[in-house]
């Protein structure tokens, strides 16, 4: 029986879709059966981040309106065993799927997967309520900016109100050089304000843009630091105890060699 996660944020553009794509991809690389649901109806994007946009026949609205069976709408990712995408509709508005329909859909698909990750639309309107309806657990994504953290606080309050307790936090696009200069809030500052449990931190990494350009999740890039952190997050979701390193690693030659050999698991 699968676990249903919703990946959400208050502010747009903080990296929900990238997080969904990468965490999901790596969970499937670790041998799990994973379904990614794009709940950002009307503005779908998970399909292009995954590089699966050319293979969409049916979408989530076709499923809930009964034009196809749920399994007919699932796109199997040929690169990774056990990874599937249920795309959002591009034309309909955010209210095309009701919370009840979302709940029923997740219930129906839960048995076939170990993990269902739902990519939530930004904001606190109906689309948000629809996306979280079927979820048991929530991951909140923010960046270290005033506006993103403020909106994350609103979302955390709303998740509580909808009885999605103990959401976990991912802080995206940290720039360690700016943190060091005192020009960017650090992890402790943000945790002090939001007081929720940290799941991971993702450094700002231009490889994210390169991988999104290609439609290949960045977890496939062994050298990318962001990719490494997404891999760590997936492992933490599976219960592995991987410490969160909140500073830029100053690896010497020996450190890099250790990491290359897989001896240094941070």
């Amino acid at each position: 029986m699968g676990e249903v996660y919703v990946i959400t944020s208050g502010k747009g553009g903080v990296g929900k879709t990238t997080t969904t794509a990468n965490v999901g991809t790596y969970l499937s690389i670790l041998g799990k059966r994973v379904l990614l649901i794009d709940a950002d109806i009307g503005l779908r994007n998970l399909d292009v981040v995954m590089g699966l946009e050319n293979r969409i026949v049916f979408d989530i609205v076709d499923v809930v309106e009964g034009r196809c069976k749920p399994k007919q709408a699932l796109i199997k990712d040929k690169r990774f065993d056990g990874l599937y995408l249920l795309p959002a509709a591009q034309s309909k508005d955010k209210t095309a799927v009701s919370p009840e329909q979302m709940k029923a859909l997740c219930e129906q698909l839960k048995d076939d997967f170990d993990f269902i990750l739902i990519d939530c639309p930004a904001g606190i309107e109906q689309g948000f309520k629809n996306a979280i309806a079927g979820a048991q657990k929530a991951i909140v994504v923010t960046t270290p900016e005033v506006s993103a953290v403020r909106d994350a606080d609103r979302i955390i309050g709303l998740l509580e109100a909808y009885e999605l307790h103990n959401p976990k936090l991912i802080i995206n696009r940290i720039r360690f050089d700016m943190v060091k200069r005192g020009d960017m809030m650090d992890i402790d500052d943000i945790l002090e304000i939001l007081s929720i449990e940290l799941l991971g931190i993702i450094p700002d990494d231009e490889k994210i843009i390169i991988s999104t350009n290609k439609g290949e999740p960045v977890v496939m890039d062994e050298k990318s630091r962001a990719g490494q952190e997404y891999r760590n997050i997936a492992r933490r979701i599976l219960g592995e105890n991987i410490p969160i390193v909140s500073e830029e690693e100053n690896l010497g030659f020996l450190g890099r060699l250790k990491r290359f050999l897989g001896l240094n698991n941070s």
Binding site: V146, R150, D153, R181, G182, M184, M185, D189, I193
Partner: protein, 100 residues
């Protein structure tokens, strides 16, 4: 090194400013009180108090802060007013009592 210089010149880093602003804005968000609403409350309080006492309205401060609640040790929003009193209008009080 930067930290040292910032402390030396007593200059606040932009992250500290961000953190302070965030804390304040989140307190207001959680209590669902906008600065405009706070201003209205302030004016009402001012009106009520000025009937009886002379206050220094330039130094009047009213804000929402977080205080630990008695239950569970959680933080709850609280309305805090700092009202500097210049003098008490004794005649006003007497007149009011006479009215009653």
């Amino acid at each position: 090194m930067f930290e040292f210089f910032n402390k030396f010149f007593n200059k606040q880093s932009s992250k500290d400013i961000a953190k302070e602003r965030l804390k304040l804005v989140i307190i207001h968000d959680r209590a669902n009180v906008s600065p405009e609403l706070l201003e209205l409350i302030k004016n009402e309080i001012l009106k009520a108090i000025q009937k009886y006492i002379v206050i220094d309205d330039k130094l009047l401060e009213i804000q929402i802060t977080r205080t630990p609640s008695e239950q569970k040790g959680e933080f709850v929003p609280a309305l805090i007013a700092n009202i500097p009193i210049k003098s008490v209008k004794k005649t006003e009080i007497l007149n009011n009592e006479a009215d009653d």
